[in-house]
C-alpha cells in the first residue's frame, strides 16, 4: 500500500461525488467510491465510509436524489442521481476549484526573486 496518498481537503469529497455522478450517471455508493479511487489514479486516500456521509449530506441539500434499484449482478442497491440543483452546484464548484488551482499553480511556480 502506498503511503503518499493525499488526505482529502474538507469539502472536496462532495465535489468528487457530484462529478462522478455527472460523468457516470446513476450509481450506487460502492460504485462511487471505486470510481473516485480509479479516476484519481489511486492517489486519494479514501475512507469509503465517508462517501456515505457525503451522500447523506448531498441528499439532504437536494443536490442528489436516491432510489432503490438493482446492480449489474442483480443485487439490491441504492442508486444516486444528480438533481438539477446538483448540476448547477457542480458547475459553480468546478469553476471555483479551477480558479483556486490556477492561483495555487501560479503562486507556487513563480520563479524565486533574487534578494539584493
Amino acid at each position: 500500500m502506498t503511503t503518499d496518498r493525499i488526505d482529502l481537503v474538507q469539502g472536496t469529497l462532495d465535489v468528487l461525488v457530484l462529478q462522478t455522478l455527472s460523468t457516470m450517471g446513476p450509481l450506487h455508493g460502492y460504485g462511487i467510491a471505486r470510481r473516485i479511487e480509479q479516476t484519481s489514479g489511486r492517489q486519494v486516500l479514501l475512507n469509503q465510509g465517508t462517501v456515505y456521509a457525503a451522500l447523506v449530506r448531498l441528499q439532504r441539500d437536494g443536490l442528489i436524489a436516491a432510489a432503490w434499484g438493482s446492480s449489474d449482478n442483480n443485487r439490491r442497491a441504492k442508486f444516486y442521481t444528480l438533481t438539477k440543483a446538483g448540476t448547477k452546484h457542480l458547475a459553480a464548484e468546478t469553476r471555483q476549484w479551477r480558479r483556486l488551482s490556477d492561483v495555487m499553480n501560479r503562486v507556487l511556480s513563480a520563479p524565486p526573486e533574487r534578494a539584493r
Partner: protein, 885 residues
C-alpha cells in the same frame, strides 16, 4: 434559503424515522461490502481475506453510521428529545411525585383556560358581525331604565338622511316580551317570542338569512303584508329544518296582532345569529318581524334601541356630537321626546358591564397559577436533593452546568405538558358546562375552547413549566458542580440556603392563598346576604303561567269574564292554595307611570311609580304583606270608584309621615283613592330596594292597558306536579290557550342570581384549591425538613427531650412561616378587596368577620399540615437514626 429549509425539513423528518433510516443505511452498507468482497475475490483473494479488506476500506461500519446520523439530523433537537425521553423516564420512576405535580398543573391549566375562554367570549372575540369594530350602540341619556333610553323614530329617519358619521342606523324594539305570541303550526298554538327589528338591521350587521331573504320593502311599511324571519332554533324545533318553509304561512296570534292571522315566513337566520344573547341574555327570540319606520311608528314615542354603523374613520365621540346637534335641530321643527344621544362601541354595551368580573376572575386565576408554581417548585426542590447524587455523577461525567439546567428545565416542561393534557380535558368539560348555563350573561353560549384558548393554555403550560423549574434547576445544578460528591449521600442537611428557599415558597403560598380566600369569602358572604334579602314576596311553591289569549277583548266585561273563568278553574285544583292575576312578574318587564296629587302640583319634581295590574287574589297568593287598609274585592269593578293599593315607598314618596289610606292621586288621567298599603317587593333586581309601586284592579282598567297576564299559583305540592294540574285545568277552560310559558318563581330567582353564583363559585373553587395547595406545600416542606433532621431529633430524644417539646419546636416553625405569609396576605387583601367593591352586596371590602376568620382557617390548616410530620419526627428511634449513618 430554500436549501436550508429543505435541509431542516429532511433533518426534522429524520428525527422521527431514525430506525427506518438506520435500517436503510444498514442495507446499503452491506450491499457495499458484498460488492467490494466480490471484486476482491475476482482479483484472486480468498473469501475471508476479501471480506476483511473490504471492511478495512469501508473504514468501520459503526463510524460510518455515526457519521451518517450526525449529518442527517438536528443535533439540538436530538438532545432535546433525549432530555424529554429521559424526563419521561425519570417521572415514571417517581410515580407519586409525578401524579401530584401533573394534577396540580392540570388544575391550574384548567382554571386558567376556562377563565381565558370566558374572557375570550365576552371581551376578546369579535362580535359575529361584519366589521364589528365600527358598530356602536346609541343610547338616549344615561338612565338605567330601558324605556327612557330608547329613541323616537323621527330621530332615526333624520340620522339616516343627514349624518356624516353614520353609514347607517338601525334598531330593534326592546319592548317585546317573552312569549307574547301564539304561534300555530299544526292545531295547537304555542307561546313564541318575536323581536321587532328595523328592516335595515340585518344588512347593517352584515347578516344574511341562510334560507330565503330579508324583508322586502313593502313588508317594511306600516300595515304592510305581515312577514317574519325565523330564528334557527325555532326552525329546527318546529319545522324540522325544512327549507321549504320559506314562502309558507304560519298563524300568529297575541302580541301586537289583533287576532290570529296568517304570516309569511320569508327566511331563516343563521344558527349563530341571536340578538337575545347580546341584548337580553338568558332569554330566547323565536322570530323577528319588521318594525316600520315612518310617521305612524313615530307617534308611539320612544320605541327603538339603536345600533349604528360608523363610516370608516369616524369616532364615536364625533358621531355623538353630531347626533346631538341633529337632534336639537329636529326638535325645533317638531314636537318630539328628548333625545340625549350617548354613542359607545357595541361591544361595551353588550359585555362592558362584565369587564370587572372577568378581571377579578383573571386576577384570581393568576394567583392560583402562582401558587401552583410555588407548590410544584417545592416538590421539585425536595426531589432535587434526592437527585443530588445523580446530578453530581452527570457533572463528573462532563455535563456542563448549562446542559444540566437545560435537562432539568426540559423535565419540568415535560411535567407541565402532561399537566396540560389533564387540564385541557377538564377545561373542555368546564367550558361546555358554562356554555350550557341559562344565565343572564351575554355571549355565555359562545364560551368554548378555540385556537386562542389552546394557545393560551400552551403559553401557560410552558411558562409555568419554566417558572417552577427554574429555581430547582439553578439550585441543583449549582449544587452538582460544587461537588455534591463531597457531601455524604444522605443524612446531612443540604445547607441553609435550601431551607430558606423552601420557607420562602411556603410564605408565598400562604400569602396568595390568604388573598384568594378573603376575596372568595367576601363574595360568598355577599351572596348569602343576597339570599337573605326580604323579597317582599314568597317564592316557595309558587308558579306563574302566562294566560293572555291570542285575541284582543273588545269590552272590559268580556275580558273580566274570561279571566274570572280561568281563575275559577285554577282555584278548583285541589293542590292550589291561592291563585291571582298580574300583568308583570318580578325580574321581568317593568313600566313606570307618572303620578301626581292635588296637594302637590306639577311644579315640584316628577314622581313616577311602577304599575302592576292585578286581580284581588294576587297579593295574598304572592305573599305580599298588607300593612294597612284592605285588599281589592270584586266590588272594585268597572264603573265603581277607582281605587289603588300602594306600597310603603310610594306612600313615603307622596305623603311622608302621613297615613296614605284615603288619599287620592292621579295617574294615566284617572284619580284613584288609596285603599290599602302593602310592603314593597324587589322587582328589578335582588340588589335594588323596592321602588314606589302601585297596584290597580284589572276590573277597573281599560282593555288596551293589559297586554300580557300571568296567573300566579301557590300550591301545596311541588312546582312540577302543580304545573301539570294547573295546565290541565286551564286546558279544560280554554282549549286553544297555549300554556307552555311556565315560570317557577324560585327558578326565576336563581336565574337572576346566576352571574353572581358563577363568579362566587369559581372564586371559591380557586380559593379552596389554593388552601389545599398551601396546606400541601406546608406538609411537604415540613416533612422534608424533619426527615433531613432525623438524626438530630434522634439525638435530642435520646438525651431526654420530651416528644411534646420536639413537636412544639416543629409546629413553631410551621406557625412562624404561616404567620409571615398571613401578614403579607392580609396586607395585600385590603387593596384586593377594594377591587371587588363593585361585586359586593352589603359587605365592606374590609369586612371584619372575613378578615378575622380567614387567618384562623389558614392557621388551622397549617397546624394540621405541620402536625403529621411533627408527630412522625417525635417517633424517631434514636438508635435507628444514628445507625443509618
Amino acid at each position: 434559503m430554500i436549501r436550508r429549509l429543505r435541509a431542516l425539513l429532511e433533518r426534522s423528518r429524520s428525527l422521527f424515522t431514525t430506525q427506518a433510516l438506520d435500517a436503510e443505511l444498514e442495507e446499503e452498507l452491506s450491499a457495499h461490502l458484498e460488492m467490494a468482497t466480490e471484486e476482491h475475490v475476482r482479483r484472486g483473494l480468498s473469501q475471508g481475506e476479501a471480506r476483511r479488506i473490504a471492511r478495512i476500506e469501508l473504514g468501520g461500519i459503526g463510524a460510518a453510521k455515526a457519521l451518517h446520523r450526525e449529518h442527517r439530523a438536528l443535533p439540538g433537537v436530538e438532545t432535546l428529545l433525549q432530555d424529554i425521553r429521559y424526563g419521561v423516564r425519570s417521572l415514571r420512576r417517581e410515580r407519586g411525585f409525578a401524579v401530584c405535580a401533573v394534577l396540580l398543573v392540570g388544575l391550574g391549566v384548567a382554571a386558567s383556560t376556562i377563565v381565558f375562554s370566558i374572557a375570550n367570549a365576552l371581551l376578546v372575540r369579535p362580535l359575529p358581525f361584519a366589521d364589528p369594530e365600527t358598530l356602536v350602540w346609541i343610547a338616549n341619556g344615561t338612565q338605567p331604565d330601558q324605556s327612557a333610553r330608547t329613541v323616537q323614530v323621527a330621530y332615526v329617519e333624520n340620522m339616516r338622511r343627514n349624518s356624516q358619521f353614520f353609514a347607517d342606523v338601525a334598531g330593534y324594539s326592546p319592548f317585546y316580551r317573552e312569549g307574547d305570541y301564539h304561534l300555530a303550526v299544526g292545531n295547537q298554538p304555542q307561546r313564541a317570542t318575536g323581536m321587532p327589528i328595523t328592516c335595515n338591521l340585518l344588512p347593517l350587521l352584515g347578516v344574511e338569512p341562510i334560507v330565503g331573504r330579508n324583508f322586502s320593502e313593502d313588508q317594511c311599511l306600516w300595515n304592510g303584508p305581515p312577514a317574519v324571519l325565523i330564528a334557527h332554533g325555532l326552525w329546527v324545533r318546529r319545522f324540522a329544518g325544512d327549507p321549504g318553509i320559506v314562502g309558507r304561512t304560519v298563524r300568529l296570534g297575541g302580541g301586537r296582532v289583533a287576532a290570529p292571522a296568517a304570516v309569511t315566513v320569508v327566511g331563516v337566520l343563521p344558527p349563530w345569529f341571536d340578538l337575545a344573547a347580546l341584548f337580553a341574555p338568558g332569554t330566547r327570540v323565536d322570530f323577528y318581524m319588521p318594525f316600520p319606520l315612518g310617521p305612524e311608528s313615530n307617534r308611539n314615542g320612544n320605541t327603538l334601541a339603536l345600533i349604528g354603523r360608523l363610516r370608516p374613520g369616524a369616532a364615536p365621540d364625533a358621531a355623538q356630537a353630531e347626533t346631538a346637534v341633529l337632534a336639537d335641530t329636529l326638535r325645533q321643527s317638531q314636537q318630539l321626546n328628548m333625545f340625549n344621544p350617548r354613542v359607545r362601541p357595541l361591544r361595551e354595551q353588550v359585555s362592558g358591564a362584565f369587564r370587572p368580573i372577568v378581571y377579578v376572575l383573571a386576577g384570581s386565576v393568576g394567583l392560583v397559577l402562582l401558587i401552583v408554581c410555588a407548590n410544584v417548585s417545592n416538590l421539585l426542590l425536595a426531589r432535587s436533593s434526592a437527585r443530588a447524587k445523580e446530578m453530581a455523577v452527570r457533572a463528573a461525567l462532563g455535563a456542563g452546568r448549562r446542559r444540566l439546567i437545560r435537562q432539568m428545565l426540559t423535565e419540568s416542561v415535560v411535567l407541565s405538558s402532561a399537566g396540560a393534557v389533564v387540564g385541557l380535558a377538564l377545561a373542555a368539560a368546564g367550558t361546555r358546562l358554562l356554555a350550557s348555563l341559562q344565565a343572564p350573561v351575554p355571549l355565555l353560549g359562545n364560551v368554548r375552547l378555540d385556537g386562542l384558548a389552546l394557545a393560551s393554555a400552551l403559553g401557560v403550560t410552558i411558562t409555568t413549566g419554566l417558572a417552577f423549574g427554574v429555581m430547582p434547576a439553578l439550585r441543583s445544578s449549582a449544587f452538582a458542580i460544587e461537588g455534591a460528591l463531597r457531601q455524604k449521600g444522605r443524612g446531612s442537611s443540604d445547607g441553609r440556603g435550601h431551607g430558606r428557599m423552601l420557607g420562602g415558597l411556603v410564605v408565598t403560598q400562604v400569602a396568595l392563598a390568604c388573598v384568594l380566600l378573603i376575596g372568595a369569602t367576601l363574595l360568598v358572604r355577599s351572596f348569602v346576604r343576597l339570599l337573605d334579602v326580604d323579597l317582599g314576596f314568597e317564592p316557595a311553591r309558587a308558579i306563574a303561567i302566562r294566560i293572555d289569549p291570542g285575541v284582543r277583548f273588545d269590552t272590559v266585561a268580556r275580558r273580566t269574564a274570561y279571566y274570572d273563568d280561568l281563575l275559577h278553574h285554577v282555584r278548583d285544583v285541589p293542590a292550589v292554595q291561592a291563585a291571582g292575576l298580574i300583568d308583570v312578574l318580578p325580574f321581568g318587564f317593568n313600566r313606570l307611570w307618572d303620578v301626581t296629587t292635588r296637594e302637590q302640583p306639577a311644579t315640584s319634581t316628577r314622581s313616577t311609580a311602577f304599575v302592576r295590574i292585578v286581580s284581588e287574589d294576587y297579593l295574598p297568593a304572592m305573599g305580599v304583606t298588607l300593612v294597612s287598609g284592605r285588599h281589592f274585592t270584586t266590588a272594585d269593578r268597572e264603573g265603581s270608584a277607582p281605587v289603588a293599593i300602594v306600597n310603603e315607598a310610594f306612600a313615603r314618596m307622596l305623603w311622608p309621615g302621613q297615613d296614605a289610606i284615603g288619599h287620592v292621586f292621579t295617574s294615566s288621567d284617572v284619580d284613584r283613592e288609596v285603599v290599602g298599603v302593602v310592603r314593597g317587593t324587589r322587582h328589578q333586581a335582588l340588589e335594588e330596594q323596592p321602588g314606589a309601586e302601585m297596584y290597580f284592579s284589572f276590573r277597573q282598567m281599560p282593555v288596551y292597558e293589559i297586554s300580557q297576564s300571568y296567573v300566579v299559583v301557590r300550591g301545596t305540592s311541588e312546582p312540577a306536579a302543580l304545573t301539570g294540574q294547573v295546565r290541565e285545568a286551564l286546558a279544560r277552560a280554554a282549549p286553544q290557550l297555549p300554556t307552555d310559558d311556565v315560570r317557577i318563581l324560585e327558578t326565576m330567582l336563581q336565574q337572576t342570581l346566576a352571574p353572581r353564583r358563577l363568579v362566587a363559585s369559581l372564586l371559591t373553587a380557586f380559593a379552596v384549591f389554593a388552601l389545599m395547595l398551601a396546606a400541601f406545600g406546608i406538609y411537604g416542606v415540613i416533612a422534608y425538613a424533619t426527615a433531613q433532621r432525623r438524626k438530630e431529633f434522634g439525638i435530642r430524644l435520646a438525651l431526654g427531650e420530651s416528644p411534646g417539646r420536639l413537636r412544639g419546636r416543629v409546629l413553631a416553625r410551621v406557625l412562624a412561616l404561616t404567620t409571615a405569609g398571613l401578614m403579607l396576605g392580609l396586607a395585600a387583601s385590603l387593596p384586593a378587596g377594594r377591587l371587588l367593591r363593585g361585586l359586593l352586596f352589603e359587605i365592606a371590602p374590609a369586612d371584619s368577620v372575613t378578615f378575622a376568620t380567614i387567618p384562623l382557617v389558614l392557621l388551622l390548616a397549617a397546624a394540621l399540615a405541620g402536625y403529621l410530620p411533627a408527630r412522625r419526627a417525635c417517633r424517631t428511634d434514636a438508635l435507628e437514626a444514628l445507625r443509618d449513618e
